[in-house]
């Protein structure tokens, strides 16, 4: 261990010579993880003492944990000492200089998805400022939001500018002890987003465009914290329909949502990381912990996700319904094609009285994809008159894919009302022939039928996102039939 430590020390010293902002581009920490690396990450970001300590506690706890094995996914072991836990944004010289140097297949996909020209370059990894002034766009939005007291910024910026808010809420929904990947993320998270909506403020825009342009730069261990103060409302859109270039295989993000009394948070995700090829080579491992806490009475949190990418998805956006009359919702479309594996679902934890939750999960399996829904509905002792409705539908395409459902229910209060409905269907030859007899080609027919299957989820998405999500499904299913 001497050598890596010496290197780390050298890096730390060099960083201090040049200052930690300007020299970011040339910095990369050698692979491996120990307390020094955790300290280094924190120091590079100029973090206050409480955060360094929190990261270190997370790291020490992580050392005592084992990787979860219960998910219905299969992958070769991950060597956590082969990962570099801090790498600054890639140098512009490394990336393609112009669209001419970008893989034509990727460009074709952007075209099909209708991604605006100026954004394509940014997504393909070309230095953004050369083609698109994202900074000024971001600033414009920020000024508009700041007028209402809304804070929306990079997580590292929030740590510098609003340390008290971060300290108050960080880790209160997903503690670092929560699970293996959450602990790892807490120790080494690189950056992410922070959002605070003050009391009684209704956020005037979908928090989307800004994020989309910047999504190309988000790191391997993202951390997101959204706090909606009493009586406020925010709709937050994460991710991007375009396949984003990324060399990191392991992604372990954490998202925490806090809704105080009467507040409402709508959180929508479109995830389209590289799924690997048809033989299962490459592709992102997406191990995410997402949880919302309906902390106040009459608060609402709804998760909507469209998951089409990644080789492996391990993700259960959940709601803790703590406040009385609080409402949780989970709407999900998960597609596994090629050799993709998705184990995804939700947890609805009813603690308060008269709490309600709705789960609508649509799993689509094609190719050799494996799709599992895993959900927990838990009604606590004090959760009088809790209600849950779960609908869980699977659609199979072809005969080499699989759909699995693992619903768990734990009811400790006799006044609870819990419903579960599940269906499994195949796109039938009858349906395809019917469409084709009306002049609609086979691929169009498939995407029409699949979009129909997903309709209940898509209508929860903000309008422009819903349109993109539909196109994304079409592109992701190309060649899945016939």
């Amino acid at each position: 261990m001497d050598t890596p430590n010496a290197e780390v020390d050298a890096l730390v010293r060099r960083e201090y010579q040049h200052g930690f902002v300007t020299d970011l581009e040339s910095d990369t920490v050698p692979p491996g993880l120990d307390e020094d690396v955790v300290r280094l990450i924190s120091r590079k970001k100029g973090e206050p003492e409480f955060l360094v300590e929190w990261r270190l506690k997370a790291y020490r706890h992580w050392l005592t944990m084992a990787e979860p094995r219960w998910a219905n996914v299969d992958h070769s072991p991950i060597d956590y000492n082969e990962i570099s836990y801090y790498s600054a944004p890639k140098s512009k010289e490394d990336g393609p200089k112009s669209l001419d140097e970008v893989d034509p297949k990727l460009l074709e996909t952007y075209e099909k998805l209708g991604i605006p020209l100026e954004e394509r370059a940014a997504l393909a990894g070309i230095a953004v400022d050369a083609v698109f002034d994202s900074v000024s766009v971001a600033t414009t939005f920020k000024d508009k939001l700041a007028e209402q007291g809304i804070i929306f910024c990079a997580f590292s910026e929030a740590v510098r500018e609003h340390p008290a808010l971060v300290e108050q809420y960080l880790g209160t929904v997903v503690p670092y002890t929560d699970n293996f990947f959450a602990a790892l993320n807490s120790a080494v998270f690189s950056d992410g987003s922070f959002c605070y909506i003050p009391k009684g403020v209704r956020c005037p825009m979908e928090l989307s465009t800004y994020f989309r342009i910047n999504a190309a730069k988000t790191g391997q261990f993202e951390r997101t914290l959204v706090v909606a103060d009493e009586g406020s409302y925010v709709s937050y859109l994460e991710g991007c329909t375009a396949p984003v270039r990324d060399e990191n295989q392991l992604h372990a993000a954490v998202v925490e949502l806090v809704a105080l009394e009467g507040a409402e948070i709508k959180y929508s995700t479109v995830q389209n990381w590289y799924p690997g090829d048809e033989n299962g080579v490459g592709g992102i491992y997406n191990f995410v912990t997402k949880r919302g806490d309906c902390r106040g009475d009459r608060s609402k949190i709804s998760w909507t996700q469209v998951e089409t990418g990644s080789a492996i998805t391990w993700k259960y956006p959940s709601c803790i319904l703590r406040g009385d009359h609080s409402v949780g919702a989970f709407y999900s479309v998960a597609l596994s094609n090629l050799r993709q594996q998705a184990d995804t679902g939700t947890k609805m934890i009813h603690l308060g009285r008269n709490t309600r939750s709705t789960i609508v999960s649509k799993g689509i399996s094609a190719g050799r994809g494996q799709n599992s829904y895993r959900g927990l509905v838990q009604i606590g002792k004090g959760a009088e008159n809790a209600r849950n409705y779960t609908q869980c539908d699977s659609l199979l395409m072809g005969d080499r894919c699989g759909a699995h459902t693992f619903p768990y229910m734990e009811v400790r209060n006799p006044s609870a009302n819990v419903e579960h409905e599940a269906t499994t269907s195949k796109i039938s030859d009858d349906q395809l022939f019917y469409c084709r007899q009306r002049g609609i080609g086979e691929e169009d027919a498939v995407s029409m039928i699949v979009n129909g299957f997903c309709k209940e989820v898509f209508r929860e998405l903000p309008m422009e996102f819903a349109v993109e999500a539909q196109k994304l499904l079409e592109v992701s299913l190309e060649g899945a039939v016939g």
Partner: protein
């Protein structure tokens, strides 16, 4: 319009049609009748290009071109329409959306401009009245929760929207009450024109009281056993199909 010569079709290795000949001229309405299992629906499906039917011999010419070389959607675009005996449900797909996609697919093929939502709605309203179809069906999923009668009316409604050259109605009368039957017949009659041909596949004569065919054919033993004018249908109604089978057997 349509020329079928010595058509032979097998399903799962079993011969269903063994040398069927049929000639349908533009503007004509032909009824294909016959007992259950005589291959009426097989003929309808083979014309539309359904998979699972093996054409072992013969040819089908549509306006002089072989239909057998075309995919189902290409046949539809060329002007072949099948009204299904059992229209399938497609949950979550709005009926109007589906109809518009179908109409525009065919317009594209014909080199016409696609209809926008407003133009399409105008077209829909124009055709809707004829069939006494409730407008609310347009906002539901394709055939989802439709009654038997509503499904069949919806098929004829599609026929009216798509204005094909050759319309094949596969047992459209089965399961219809008399009011629905009249509406369906009215819809089909309204579409009769010198350029459009129709094949009515039916088991019963009662549809033919409302849509009077130019020719009636009786399928038996895998080929057309007897052909005649519309009076043949009435003869079948009173005498049944047995005598046709006997004549076919005697002729073979």
């Amino acid at each position: 319009m349509l020329e079928i010569r010595d058509l032979r079709v097998a399903v799962d290795g079993k011969d269903i049609l063994i040398g069927l000949d049929l000639h349908v001229a533009p503007g004509e309405v032909h009824a294909i009748m016959g007992p259950n299992g005589s291959g009426k629906s097989t003929l309808a499906h083979v014309l539309a290009g359904r998979e699972g039917y093996e054409v072992t011999g013969g040819e089908i010419l549509f306006e002089g071109h072989s239909l057998l070389d075309l995919e189902p959607e290409e046949r539809a675009c060329a002007g072949v329409f099948l009204a299904f005996q059992y229209p399938v449900e497609i949950p979550g797909v709005n009926n109007t959306y589906f109809l518009k996609a179908a109409v525009n697919a065919i317009r594209r093929h014909r080199g016409q401009s696609e209809l926008d939502a407003m133009d399409f709605l105008t077209l829909v309203r124009e055709k809707l009245g004829v069939l006494h179809l409730d407008e609310s069906l347009l906002r539901r999923g394709v055939n989802v929760g439709f009654s038997g009668g509503e499904k069949k009316r919806n098929e004829i409604f599609q026929l009216a929207l798509m204005e094909p050259k050759l319309a094949i109605l596969d047992e459209t009368d089965s399961g219809l009450d008399i009011d629905a039957l009249k509406d369906v017949a009215h819809g089909v009659n309204a579409l009769r024109s010198p350029e459009r041909s129709t094949i009515l596949v039916t088991h019963y004569q009662r549809l033919l009281d409302h849509i009077v065919p130019d020719r009636v054919h009786v399928l038996s033993g895998g080929r057309i056993a007897v052909s005649g004018g519309s009076e043949l249908a009435r003869e079948l109604e009173s005498r049944g199909y047995d005598w046709v089978r006997e004549e076919a057997a005697a002729g073979a």
